[in-house]
């Protein structure tokens, strides 16, 4: 990165305009390490301008037909990876089967960012830790220290940290994990589907990456399958109601069958390096009626195992409150 604080325009790069996925994959493979894929550009263009990223080629995915738009089909909604967050927020085909996703999309940053930002970019965004993005040589940046752990840790992880204490910044990620959504990834060998949850990589496994996609792979679409009787909700806490990433967020999904909650998913955002599925909390509600007592049990279970640093213990009661509120909302 550039340490020059007077820099805020990019180095020259060549913008490549592939007409097909195959061409985009080929270009990604050809320029591996020297090229980035451009979707909404909300983060990439800023990174290029700060010269934190110095790619020589930018491969514009927006010129590829078919990557943008929502197709509500028989029992599922397919969301192209380049669909903007405001399209998702306002689409009736999403709101009904996937309320948590629409709510999450509507809580991202600002209207302008939602008009530009895509679901693919929102899912695959990089860590927002200010040490990692600043002039520090932290673990994630290839160093041997977590500066936040010894410095300012108010934004950092309660769960799942391993040397690095960054958090998953995405609002839509917990929602899609809670909805058991599937991600479709294209590479040279073709297209394969995986649970959205498997897109994300914890620092214990790879401390330099937030997701599992490699150069030469492109996230093409997300599929949310409808489930009869499913209810879902997303709630985000941030110090400011616009722009801010979540201090903590939660997505909850469950299906009511005969007064009992089934297939309960409780997924936390902003408190772990990946969208954090709290199975302990889920178990408190699974196959139970949603009552004040089961809600409280889940809220308490959600914070078990939290390992706060000096500055982020305040997130613990926030998580408890989030789980309580989200479950109350779907009850």
């Amino acid at each position: 990165m550039s340490w020059q604080i007077a820099v805020d325009e990019p180095l020259p790069f060549e913008l490549l305009l592939p007409r097909s996925l195959e061409e985009a994959l080929e270009l990604g493979y050809k320029y591996a390490g020297r090229a980035a894929y451009l979707a909404g550009g909300c983060d990439l263009v800023e990174q290029l301008k700060l010269q934190w990223s110095r790619y020589e080629y930018v491969i514009n995915l927006k010129t590829i037909p078919g990557l943008r738009g929502i197709r509500a089909g028989n029992g599922f909604a397919d969301i192209g990876a380049l669909t903007t967050l405001s399209e998702i927020d306002s689409h009736p085909g999403v709101r009904e089967p996937a309320a948590a996703l629409a709510q999450a999309a509507s809580r991202v940053a600002t209207p302008q960012i939602r008009n530009m930002g895509t679901i693919g970019g929102n899912l695959l965004q990089d860590s927002r830790c200010f040490y990692y993005r600043g002039p520090w040589h932290c673990y994630r940046a290839g160093g041997v220290i977590c500066d936040a752990r010894h410095g300012i840790s108010s934004e950092h992880a309660l769960f799942g940290a391993d040397r690095c204490h960054t958090v998953s910044p995405s609002d839509t990620a917990p929602a899609l994990v809670a909805l058991d959504a599937r991600a479709f990834v294209r590479d040279a060998s073709g297209e394969r589907a995986m649970p959205v949850a498997e897109l994300f990589v914890p620092p214990a496994e790879n401390i330099r990456a937030m997701h599992r996609l490699h150069p030469g792979q492109i996230l093409t679409r997300i599929r949310v399958s409808a489930r009869k009787g499913r209810r879902s909700a997303f709630i985000k806490y941030a110090q400011r109601a616009a722009w801010d990433f979540a201090i903590a967020s939660v997505a909850v999904a469950l299906t009511m069958e005969g007064g009992l909650a089934r297939e309960v998913r409780i997924v936390l955002g902003g408190v772990a390096p990946i969208p954090w599925r709290s199975t302990a909390a889920e178990e408190m509600v699974e196959s139970q009626a949603i009552t004040p007592a089961s809600i409280e049990a889940a809220a308490r279970a959600a914070i078990t195992g939290a390992l706060p640093l000096d500055g982020n213990e305040y997130k613990v009661p926030l998580v408890r409150k989030l789980v309580r509120e989200a479950l109350s909302q779907v009850a």
């Binding site: 604080i5 007077a6 180095l11 790069f13 301008k49 010269q51 530009m116 002039p135 410095g151 213990e313």
Partner: protein, 973 residues
């Protein structure tokens, strides 16, 4: 500064480690600097042609691929209505519509506009008639500084296109991606309601007789230019054929990456290979300035971001490239970021002595400022209770919508600065002194300024003087040179609000009488003094005045640290002091079981009682409105609902809090000049800056009223040091009161001259009322006070007057020196809801009651209360430039992480205007620009105590801080 002493010690016990980590980061940076050229050979720019529809017409441009839509619109197409602010997608000033949808043009590549339809603020009007949203912004004062207005207007127009009658909530959502640092959100919402045809209620004024003449409201002087994109700010110039200079060279500054380091020689051998590179200056090319511990470029860098060298090139890309290729060796030195530590240990490493004094660095045992009256020890003996507390304030950054931007053009012996400048005359003197040339050879112009807040006031040589960098590069290259700050430079490298630690101790009798106040204040001034010592002085005034105390002592220390430099910022020490004192006084009232407002009323000063000010030790107060302000606020918030926190239960608890203060409304002298030309038109060339308070509109109304002419007969111009009446500075809430009074006097003089026949005039003695207009003046460079100065115009005004007379104009001349008895009064009341489980605090309502003396331009006055309240809410709730506790590196280096309030973060804001006129002001008017920023912090702190039973004595009140206070006091639910 917020570190407790234990943490501080730890970081210094581990000084080696902290230092090593600083060196590590820097070493990496330096090694990267060295290898850049090799690893990143010059890249060829890739060009393409792009076609898109722009404001209804197809345009075709050939541009490099890395060009953003924002730069193309502004620089290639001259559409500078689209503003450049953060340039990173964190503010919304660059908003344009793409196919009708608002987007940020600063993070959109130009090539991505291909085939789309782009609408800018210039494209909204139809048949030269403003768009209804633009008309709404003109009619409802939707603009303060106006820099965020084009983006707001476009977001608003997009909303109305899909929803013709939006609710307030829908409007707030639609505008939530547009930051307004003036905090003009309530008026922006009203502007859209007006555009949608919804009637809007008006604010009540607690007025006194005589107000009627200022009842009619018309749009502000430059409302149309701001709403329609025609207002050209400093950074907009150079892209239109009718601008005063051609496209300028772009300067970039090499800034030190360490908190404390010695820079070696700077080598630009590699930079010279960059096409378009024009030259470099370094600390070796910059002379020292007497009376300042700082130069515009420094070899010893004293904070992260300190300027070392600068380059100029044909465009920003080449300038950046050249900057990266400069070779410089930094020798890091141990950083000393903590003021209390530096004072306790007498750290001399930064400037030879630890304390910044008015006359330069001084020893740790000598306070920068000391005020005493009576004997505090005796006062404490007379007390029934003695209450002590420690209060901490944070580093707040101005973050104006328009970044600092100066274009300097050195032609022969003269330099012109088109600068982002509040105070063109003070800047002219200061810059001339720093450059070693006569002030007559310097001109400073600033027609539109995108927010100042004290951060763009070059009134002392202790400021950054970045303008000199542009001037010296212009002299070297022969071209106009522009230096425009990035958002990171704005956050880190420019002056900010000094953090303080206050140790307060107050003695009180059971009946509520204060027997003594003792305060030790430690201010972190950062790497340089800047305005730090004067800020300590004003903070001291804030601590000891307002309440009656026979005994007081204030000792304030401005302490050098290796951290960002603190200086002038709206309120100038008062916001920090008012937070500390008003939180403390709440604790004093609590200790004797008295209602906090009752306690304030009991101790508030009355008309004729004396206060101590830097300019004079014993000033008898003019028209005091303390009781009126407090009672109006009690009514507006419903203070009768107040209940002691011990009676509150439940997880969510509400609380009420109050704060009160006395506030200065000006300083120093102003000239006034009003004239009539041969055709019979009247002219008011205002010397005060156009910083968004709309003071120019207020002063124009004063002049019109005094002359008895209608608005159509008066031409108003402003802020050009070559063509305006001299004014000392534009800060200290002084424009309408001080410059307004001088212009009022000039108008009376003109009437008198015209009644005499208006012949040519050789005598340039200004008119003033010796009873109220002639007052002590403090010379801030010498510290000398002239108790009764001679009313005399500055040479600038006399020169201008001569020119006008020679052209056959009839002139009226006026003068006024700030009368320190004119203090205004303010109270605020907050209602909060606190979550006892999490520490989340929501401000539900904020009432700001302010004595404006006389309300001259009502929309402007209420907007100052709302906008100051909102900026104060940022100070109270979210804003802080965080420094790493070990080495003082700024950590949250972006605007979104710094967290200024968005339009979605507003409580119900209730402005209340009180009139307590003082004859010294024009029609009785007092200043109002700064006072509302005191509204939030203490009132919210006291409301949090009232709700949750815990004191938060450190700003800002983030969820984390309140949670930790609840935990410490064992009050968590």
């Amino acid at each position: 500064m917020g570190d407790d002493s234990e943490l501080t010690r730890r970081s210094f016990v581990r000084g080696g480690a902290g230092f090593a980590s600083a060196a590590g980061a820097g070493a990496a940076a330096v090694s990267q600097l060295r290898v850049l050229g090799g690893r990143n050979p010059e890249r060829r720019e890739a060009f393409s042609e792009v076609r898109f529809k722009l404001n209804g017409a197809v345009v075709a441009l050939r541009a490099p691929h890395h060009r953003t839509l924002l730069l193309a619109l502004r620089e290639d197409l001259g559409l500078t209505g689209t503003k450049k602010s953060c340039n990173r997608g964190h503010c919304g000033a660059c908003t344009v519509l793409m196919d009708g949808q608002p987007i940020y043009s600063c993070i959109t590549l130009l090539l991505d506009a291909a085939g789309h339809e782009i609408t800018t603020v210039e494209g909204l009007a139809r048949d030269a008639r403003p768009h209804p949203v633009q008309q709404g912004f003109m009619d409802r004062m939707g603009s303060q500084c106006g820099h965020c207005t084009p983006g707001m207007v476009l977001s608003g127009a997009a909303l109305l296109a899909r929803n013709a009658s939006p609710s307030r909530d829908e409007i707030r959502q639609a505008l939530s991606g547009n930051l307004c640092r003036c905090g003009n959100y309530p008026h922006e919402i009203e502007s859209l309601l007006a555009a949608a045809g919804v009637p809007i209620p008006v604010v009540t004024i607690h007025e006194t007789q005589g107000a009627t003449r200022f009842k009619t409201i018309s749009p502000a002087l430059d409302a149309r230019d701001k709403a329609c994109g025609g207002a050209r700010y400093s950074g907009d110039l150079g892209f239109h054929p009718d601008d005063p200079f051609p496209r300028p060279l772009i300067a970039k500054v090499l800034r030190c990456p360490y908190p404390h380091a010695e820079a070696g020689a700077v080598d630009d051998a590699q930079a010279r290979t960059v096409a378009g590179y024009r030259g470099m200056i370094t600390f070796r090319d910059v002379p020292g300035v007497s009376g300042s511990d700082r130069r515009c470029l420094n070899s010893k860098a004293r904070y992260v971001g300190d300027a070392v060298a600068a380059v100029a090139a044909d465009n920003q890309y080449a300038a950046q490239r050249a900057l990266e290729l400069l070779k410089v060796e930094f020798t890091p030195l141990p950083p000393y970021p903590n003021a209390e530590y530096n004072l306790d240990h007498g750290i001399r490493a930064i400037h030879g002595e630890p304390v910044a004094g008015f006359a330069g660095p001084q020893s740790a045992d000598k306070p920068t400022v000391e005020f005493t009256r009576g004997d505090v020890e005796r006062g404490f003996q007379q007390a029934d209770k003695v209450i002590e507390g420690r209060y901490v304030t944070q580093l707040q950054c101005h973050m104006p919508s328009e970044p600092h931007c100066c274009t300097a053009w050195w032609q022969d012996t003269h330099v012109t600065f088109w600068d982002t400048q509040q105070s063109v005359f003070a800047a002219r003197e200061t810059l001339a002194r720093a450059l070693g040339i006569p002030a007559e050879n310097v001109r400073v112009v600033c027609k539109h300024l995108g927010g100042g807040f004290g951060g763009k006031c070059t009134d002392t040589p202790g400021k950054t003087l970045y303008q000199c960098i542009a001037a010296l590069l212009s002299r070297k290259t022969g071209y106009p040179v522009r230096l425009e700050f990035t958002m990171k430079e704005e956050l880190i490298a420019e002056d900010s609000r000094n953090p303080f630690v206050f140790y307060l101790k107050t003695g009180v009798r059971k009946d509520g009488a204060i027997t003594a106040i003792d305060c030790k204040a430690i201010q972190r001034t950062g790497g340089y003094a800047s305005s730090g010592p004067a800020v300590v002085e004003v903070a001291g005034e804030g601590i000891i005045n307002t309440y009656r105390a026979a005994n007081y002592r204030f000792r304030g220390f401005s302490v050098y640290t290796n951290s960002p430099v603190g200086g002038e910022f709206r309120g100038f020490g008062h916001p920090q002091a008012v937070f500390a004192r008003e939180t403390h006084m709440d604790e004093v009232a609590e200790a004797i079981g008295m209602d906090p407002v009752e306690f304030r009323l009991r101790n508030a000063l009355h008309t004729g009682e004396t206060v101590t000010l830097g300019v004079a030790p014993d000033v008898p107060l003019g028209n005091v409105a303390s009781e009126r302000c407090l009672r109006a606020g009690m009514e507006a918030i419903g203070w009768s609902r107040w209940q002691h926190p011990s009676r509150k239960t439940g997880r969510l608890r509400t609380g009420l809090g109050a704060r009160f203060s006395q506030e200065h409304t000006g300083r120093n002298a102003s000239d006034g000049l009003v004239w009539r030309d041969r055709s019979g038109r009247y002219h008011a060339p205002l010397g005060s800056g156009n910083i968004g308070t709309l003071a120019h509109t207020g002063i124009a109304r004063i002049v019109e009223e005094a002359l008895g002419v209608s608005p159509g007969e008066l031409d108003v111009t402003w802020a050009d040091s070559a063509n305006c009446a001299w004014d000392f500075v534009t800060d200290a809430s002084r424009s309408v009161h001080c410059h307004g009074k001088a212009m009022y006097n000039a108008a009376l003089d003109l009437k008198h001259q015209l009644s005499k026949g208006g012949g040519p005039r050789a005598d340039f003695t200004p008119y003033c009322d010796p009873r109220v207009d002639v007052n002590p003046i403090l010379d801030e460079t010498t510290g000398k006070i002239t108790r009764r100065p001679e009313p005399k115009l500055s040479r600038h005004t006399i020169e201008l007057a001569r020119r006008i007379v020679a052209e056959g104009g009839v002139i009226g001349l006026g003068w006024y020196a700030y009368n320190p008895r004119v203090q205004s009064w303010g109270a605020s009341f907050a209602e909060v809801e606190a979550d006892m489980e999490t520490g989340q605090v929501r401000v539900v309502k904020l009432v700001g009651v302010h004595d404006a003396g006389r309300v001259i331009y009502r929309p402007g006055a209420e907007a100052q209360i709302q906008g100051g309240g909102i900026m104060g809410l940022g100070f109270a709730m979210t804003e802080e430039l965080l420094l790493d506790p070990h080495n003082g590196f700024p950590v949250n280096q972006s605007l979104y992480e710094y967290r200024p309030p968005s339009i979605l973060d507003l409580p119900e804001l209730v402005p209340v205007l009180v009139e307590a006129p003082d004859e010294a002001g024009p029609y009785g008017a007092k200043g109002l620009g700064e006072n509302p920023i005191f509204d939030a912090a203490a009132a919210v702190a006291n409301a949090i105590f009232n709700a949750a039973g815990v004191r938060v004595r450190e700003l800002p009140f983030t969820w984390r801080r309140v949670y930790e206070a609840l935990k410490r006091e064992r009050r968590l639910a």
